[in-house]
Symmetry: C2
Subunit: 193 residues, 2 copies
């Protein structure tokens, strides 16, 4: 053990208290990552099960027409983004869990997690925005460009899309908290700060 490590252990925080804090932060980290996994799975499942077929009026008379999520590129991007997030949350949950078993979690782990969490946050936030923007047109329409609302016809489809976007918004908030926690885990290891 170097003099620096010894200094850190005795001056900044007693080793027992430091380990306790590490475990607490690690526990919160794992809980947030499991929540992220649950939110990702829920958002994807609710989105892909949104299919609904209804009889709609067309210029050639009433027709049976389906509404499916993959009719919109924004919703496809949403499903891909949240699927990536789900896989990512599994990998990082395992990494976070296995690091908790160690007596001292290396700071590099928090740094690497921060790097990746912030990228995934960008992807999830943009996917939520894209799906939200398109979903809002489906709900309200846009009279200026004569894009008709469809939620009066496809009620179940829209409820699924709306719920999926809300869950994805929750996933984005969890990712913000994870980045903040990664940053805090680094910050509190700096002596005399």
């Amino acid at each position: 053990m170097s003099s620096m490590e010894s200094e850190k252990g005795t001056v900044v925080a007693p080793p027992a208290a430091e380990n306790g804090n590490n475990k607490k932060c690690g526990g919160v980290d794992v809980i947030l990552r499991v929540l992220l996994l649950a939110a990702s799975i829920a958002a994807v499942v609710v989105m892909v099960t949104s299919n609904q077929t209804e009889t709609v009026p067309t210029p050639r008379g009433p027709m049976r027409a389906p509404a499916k999520f993959h009719h919109s590129p924004a919703f496809i991007y949403f499903v891909v983004a949240l699927s990536i997030t789900g896989v990512y949350s599994i990998i990082t949950s395992i990494a976070s869990l296995s690091s908790m078993r160690k007596s001292k979690v290396p700071a590099k782990l928090f740094w690497i997690l921060l790097l990746h969490d912030v990228l995934i946050l960008g992807i999830v936030a943009s996917a939520t925005g894209a799906a939200g923007g398109v979903g809002y047109i489906g709900l309200k329409g846009n009279t200026h460009v004569r894009w008709m609302k469809i939620c009066n016809l496809y009620g179940k489809f829209c409820r699924h899309i709306g719920a999926s976007i809300l869950v994805s918004l929750f996933a984005a908030v969890v990712l913000v908290l994870l980045v903040v926690l990664d940053g805090y885990s680094l910050y509190r290891r700096i002596p005399a700060s």
Copy 2:
């Protein structure tokens, strides 16, 4: 100076080299924040100057119809989000610049910047996604729900929207880099990591 600070100065990095690194990181931080400001201003200006009026066919015959960004809630959200980002980048550029004058930048500054940068990233990424999702419908239309594309009629409007979204995407990338830099500034201050 406490024994801890003395230990940090001598064991981890010589004070001169540490100060040099601080200045380098601080310089990159200020450059990124100025880039963020420029991108925010450009995105907002290009979006709000996208107005275009054209003669379009309607059921009641050809009519002069304008296309304006505030006809879409997604574009309004985009302008508000990028305006907030512009103001935020001014404030944090000043904070970052003034901290560079100090001989030792407090770690708390990076921690506070990280907290706020990640929130602004979430806002900018979602705004880019929302505008991108709606802009794509304007460009390609959606035959499934009979939303007609408008970019064949409103060329200038669509070029402005597209350019604005690209600049906003650049702003989101700059924010990712800023969060990474904040994290790195914290990480490299941890002794023996």
